[in-house]
Amino acid sequence: MTASKKIVLLGHFGVGKTSLIRRFVENTFSEDYQVTIGVHISKKTIEIPEQESISLIIWDLEGQDDLKKTRSSYLLGTNGFIYVFDSSRPLTFENLNSELKFLKENYPNVPVKVVGNKMDLVNKTYLAQYSSVFKPLVDFFVSAKTGSRIETLFSKLAKELI
């Protein structure tokens, strides 16, 4: 039987949470930004090599600059979090530490992956400039536009959920 796991994507508005999911679920991308209000839920079943398949129920939450403002019902029964920020906009990762602290305190046993999206917009010099923030906290740098490392992100998280 295929197990279902709820994954919630969090982060500021405009960081590309919806684009990241669309790339993963539909393998499509649009440059047009359309704000998400409330929550969109999609589903994708993936095969885990040498193991069972897993259905990921992906909750795409509307962007918030503070996790505390997120409707708590949305987070009920979450099996894994993906915290997304926009690598090219420092304001979207300036409070990363406190946001992760909030998740750890309130959802201590739920794995969290920290993801810098829009990797295609930044260069190595820029990354080096913020290395003190990125190095200790960020698990993946991805690009919804190019698709870079998105499959890896979800499959790695899925493995942790089994």
Binding site: S4, F13, Y33, I37, S42, E62, S73
Partner: protein
């Protein structure tokens, strides 16, 4: 009475669904979407997969607002309440609020886009500033690297012209000298632009002899115009003050660039230069400077464009020299001097540049006059000892040639910074020429090591031969105890003037 209206206008936005503890539909009114009895609600939309965990909890209520449901090819945005009960009968109430949330979505879209755009704009500005700083530093450093070879090239060409050359060789040398001058001017222009863009171009304010400056300018450009077969006419208003306060070098640059342009773009006819006194008010003289040519002219649509950096208007004469920076520098300098410039032009008839500038008046200054005269001091009663600290062999040879030709100096040359102190202790030194590019030592450190020796060495004049030309650099040199700076590239006249100024 109300019933007919209610029937007409009331919309039922609620759907009620009863499910068992596994999510199997027991009953529903299908108001918003159709669900088959006995089907699993989880199969309708992934949102309902949440029921798997919630329905295990008895007697609780869970509220979910603003859920986007893609159902049967229609999208509804709903609020949902799930009542889990302990009799294998759970109630789900779904309220359709699509219209309400769509209105909210529009407002949120506008707000978010505006915030994101302003953040992106801010970042872009930061990047542009960083790039600009990098570019300006690169230009400054690169131009410094060129200063030694250009200095040598200029000075040796000058020395060579006085040697025994045949006509053909003199013609070749003329070309080399002209190219040297051109190269020097372009480097100065690029450096000026980088100074302007990094905010490091600072105007000085010193008393100077305006009439002498104008005569020098006129003589120089008269010669240039005649070489091109052009008439050069000039009118200098007798009422202009003799001494004014301001940046002499930059005024010369403004007039020079305008005249250079006029001569470059005129193939026949004349170039006319006129300077007049507009008025004297509040101890300031306002001058009107006009440069008129009979050249190719500028199309009206290009009149604004000519003052932009690196702008060169397409012209039939593609051989016109210049970096395209001259007028940009002129415009900036005039604006920094609180003046104004305008241009009138007609294609194939010519152009007229008019600028108005104010300068503080200065009383006739006897000290200045003496200073100017002292600069022209040429004969000396004895020979002086010059210590040259320079690691570029090219510059060593250049300076040696110039000083030796005067017959007024003994010259001692060292290439290493560590040899400076032993040399001045063991030998007579009347003046030190010190490069700022010597390996392992800064000119500031070396100056300090001399000044710290004893009182005797505190007054030994030190002139730095500098590849650094920014105001801040000059300030740092002076603070370290340097008497004066000669910026590379320099020529024979500049070098000798400075040396004569400091030896007694």
């Amino acid at each position: 009475m109300l019933e007919p209206y209610k029937k007409k206008y009331h919309t039922n936005n609620f759907q009620y669904i009863l499910v068992d503890d596994l999510g199997c539909v027991l009953e529903t009114d299908n108001t918003l979407f159709t669900v088959q009895k006995d089907s699993l609600l989880q199969t309708i939309h992934p949102f309902f997969e949440i029921l798997n965990s919630l329905l295990q909890i008895d007697n609780d209520c869970f509220e979910f607002s603003c859920i986007n449901l893609n159902l049967e090819k229609k999208v509804v945005i709903v609020d949902t309440i799930i009542y889990s009960q302990n009799k294998n009968e759970n109630l789900i109430i779904i309220e359709n609020l699509t219209k309400h949330y769509n209105n909210y979505q529009l407002a949120a879209q506008t707000r978010n886009e505006s915030i994101i755009n302003s953040q992106i704009l801010e970042l872009k500005n930061e990047y542009l500033l960083e790039k600009e700083t990098f570019k300006n530093n690169f230009i400054a450093n690169f131009s410094h690297q060129l200063r030694n070879p250009i200095t040598a090239s200029i000075i040796f060409s000058d020395l060579l012209i006085n040697s025994d050359l045949n006509t053909e060789q003199k013609n070749y040398l003329d070309i080399i000298q002209s190219a040297n001058k051109d190269l020097k001017n372009r480097i100065e222009d690029i450096l000026d632009i980088s100074k302007i863009e990094s905010g490091k171009l600072i105007l000085t304010e010193k008393v100077f002899d305006l009439k002498k400056l104008l005569n020098d300018i006129v003589n120089g450009y008269k010669f240039l115009a005649s070489k091109k077969g052009l008439d050069f006419n000039f009118v200098i208003d007798e009422n202009i003050p003799e001494f004014i306060k301001g940046d002499q070098y930059r005024l010369k640059q403004i007039i020079g660039n305008l005249l250079n342009n006029a001569i470059s773009f005129t193939t026949q006819g004349s170039v006319n230069f006129k300077i007049a006194l507009n008025y004297i008010r509040a101890k300031k003289a306002n001058l009107r400077i006009e440069v008129l040519d009979t050249g190719c002219g500028i199309a009206s649509e290009n009149l604004d464009y000519i003052f932009k950096r690196f702008s060169k208007i397409e012209s039939e004469n593609q051989n016109i020299k210049g970096s395209g920076l001259g007028l940009a520098i002129v415009k900036y300098l005039i604006s920094e001097m609180q003046g104004n410039i305008k241009v009138e032009s007609e294609i194939n008839k010519g152009s007229k540049f008019i600028c108005n500038l104010s300068f503080k008046l200065s009383d006739y200054n006897q000290i200045l006059k003496e200073e100017l005269l002292s600069k022209q001091l040429l004969g000396l009663e004895k020979k002086y000892h010059i210590l040259l600290v320079e690691d570029s062999e090219l510059i060593q040879l250049t300076i040696l040639k110039i000083l030796a030709a005067t017959g007024n100096f003994f010259i001692n040359i060292i290439s290493k910074g560590e040899d400076l102190v032993p040399n001045i202790i063991n030998q007579d030194v009347d003046l030190i020429l010190l490069t700022n590019t010597i390996q392992n030592f800064s000119a500031m450190d070396l100056t300090a090591s001399v000044r710290n020796l004893s009182k005797d060495y505190k007054k030994t004049p030190i002139i730095v031969l500098s590849t650094l030309a920014f105001k801040d650099d000059v300030k740092r040199f002076k603070q370290a105890g340097v008497n004066d700076i000669i910026t590379k590239p320099f020529d024979e006249k500049k070098l000798l003037e400075k040396i004569y100024k400091y030896i007694k």
